[in-house]
């Protein structure tokens, strides 16, 4: 457990306190879990727009002539797409075993010499060590400090962004742009990415710049119904889309293939750490795999809940919640790969009672 002395506060902390947010310790960061209610905030994002403080995410800058080759060797995604299209690329950092160290986003442009890498807070230190350990000559890894980040998400997000920051709302999904601030060091990144399945953008930059942007967006978005939203809604929103959460659905003990995320592995690119193990596993076939399920009666599976098929155990829930959009329990679980057939019936053990469940395809929430 973290003590109060080593817990980190977001640069937006004072704003959260003023708006009455309930704060929790999230991997050593004191962050809002909710402002009013998880369900209200969830619906706000699905119907208008929500603003999230994501300052806990680690921001690394990789730069130098060899940056492209370095990143290409580290992640399962294809960084060539950054150079071709100036878009953010999602990928896994894998161990040689194929186990997942983290899932990350890499943003970089045509020069191939400078990339912003966004990593999870729970893996931040481990990732920095992995980057430094595998670093190539001719590139440098900076763990950026005094940074902040926010995400604005929802069907009304783009119109609010358009009114506040020029050039971002017009970008295609996954694209990004560097925005110069008022002062030379105020440069920040606007990226058309997110973790909710809605339109919107994420902004990464110096703490003061992002704090100003937070206030401007809230002001400009008031009429459209923009509200600050906490980590509680962020979790129900991401799970409705089937997006994995590192530490729950992804870990060093499971490969990208076991996580059912082959789409994040770009086989056509050159070698990367973990490739050989992943190829071998693909050829041999999977014993276990992550799959999506919904609960057919009342009940909510939580991480750690066991799942059964025809009376036989072997399934373990890694993410589970109540879906505010679907009004039922949904979850992700690891289990025998043969279970992963949409429509297959299972049983979930909830409070010592077996409740019927069904394997479904992702996303849970379809527009």
């Amino acid at each position: 457990m973290s003590t109060t002395t080593d817990i980190q506060q977001s640069p937006l902390h004072d704003l959260h306190v003023l708006s009455g947010a309930r704060l929790i310790d999230f991997h050593g960061w004191l962050l809002p879990v909710q402002y009013t209610s998880v369900i209200d905030e969830h619906q706000t994002v699905r119907k208008s727009a929500g603003l999230f403080d994501i300052s806990h995410m680690g921001q690394l800058l990789v730069r130098g002539s060899n940056s492209f080759a370095f990143l290409q060797r580290l992640i399962t995604g294809d960084v060539q797409r950054c150079l071709d299209k100036a878009v953010g690329v999602y990928g896994h950092l894998c161990l040689p075993s194929g186990g997942v160290i983290d899932d990350i986003f890499v943003y970089g442009g045509k020069s191939g010499q400078e990339f912003l890498v966004v990593v999870n807070s729970s893996t931040h230190e481990k990732d920095v060590a992995w980057f430094k350990q595998n670093k190539l000559e001719g590139c440098e890894v900076l763990d950026l400090e005094h940074r902040a980040a926010l995400a604005i998400q929802g069907p009304k997000a783009l119109e609010i962004i358009r009114e506040t920051v020029p050039g971002i709302a017009e970008l295609p999904r996954f694209a990004f742009q560097r925005i110069s601030g008022d002062r030379p060091n105020d440069c920040y990144w606007g990226c058309r990415t997110g973790y909710t399945g809605e339109e919107g953008a994420e902004f990464f930059g110096p703490a003061r710049t992002i704090a100003t942007l937070w206030k401007q967006l809230l002001e400009n978005g008031r009429e459209a119904g923009l509200k600050p939203c906490g980590l509680g809604a962020r979790d129900t929103l991401r799970l409705e889309m089937g997006y994995p959460l590192y530490g729950n659905d992804l870990s060093e003990e499971r490969t990208s293939l076991e996580a059912n995320m082959e789409w994040a592995i770009k086989w056509k690119k050159d070698d990367f750490i973990g490739r050989a193990a992943l190829e071998r596993q693909k050829a041999e076939g999977l014993k276990e795999q992550l799959f999506a399920f919904e609960i057919l009666e009342r009940g909510i599976t939580r991480p750690g809940c066991h799942l059964f098929k025809d009376g036989t155990g072997g399934g373990l829930c890694t993410s589970g919640t109540f879906s505010p959009s679907l009004q039922k329990g949904i979850g992700l679980a690891y289990g025998p790969a043969a279970w992963n057939r949409p429509g297959a019936t299972l049983e979930a053990e909830i409070h010592n009672k077996r409740v019927p469940a069904q394997v479904v395809t992702l996303p849970f929430y379809k527009k």
């Binding site: 998880v38 509680g232 129900t236 909510i300 919640t321 109540f322 409070h351």
Partner: protein
Amino acid sequence: MTNTERRYAKSHEWVRVEGTIGYVGISDHAQHEVTDVVYAEVPKTGKTLKAGDEATTIESVKAAFSIYAPVSGTLVKANAELENDPALINKSPYDQGWMFAIEMSDPSELNALMTETQYQEFLKSPGAAGPH
């Protein structure tokens, strides 16, 4: 004790007495800590409970919570409305969000529970974190 007066358990249930029957729910503080209730089990009537026994469970987006009987007796009524609208526990914790009623076997147990003033004091103490 008037019929609008509530007594509170340390586990954040309240009990309001009408004759020999005690109506039970959770406090406003507790509903706030629990967050949005999405399922509320409507307990079966007829069971005998001792003060401190688990009477029912509710579930929020966050987690499941046990609700304990603040007094001993027989569970004689349950609020069936909660099955369709569990959010009543959040919206109206002291009225429409009541959960069940107990025919008290020992009304003197009420004296061991906190008054409104004592409960408000208790909430300021470090040990008063929400239900677990």
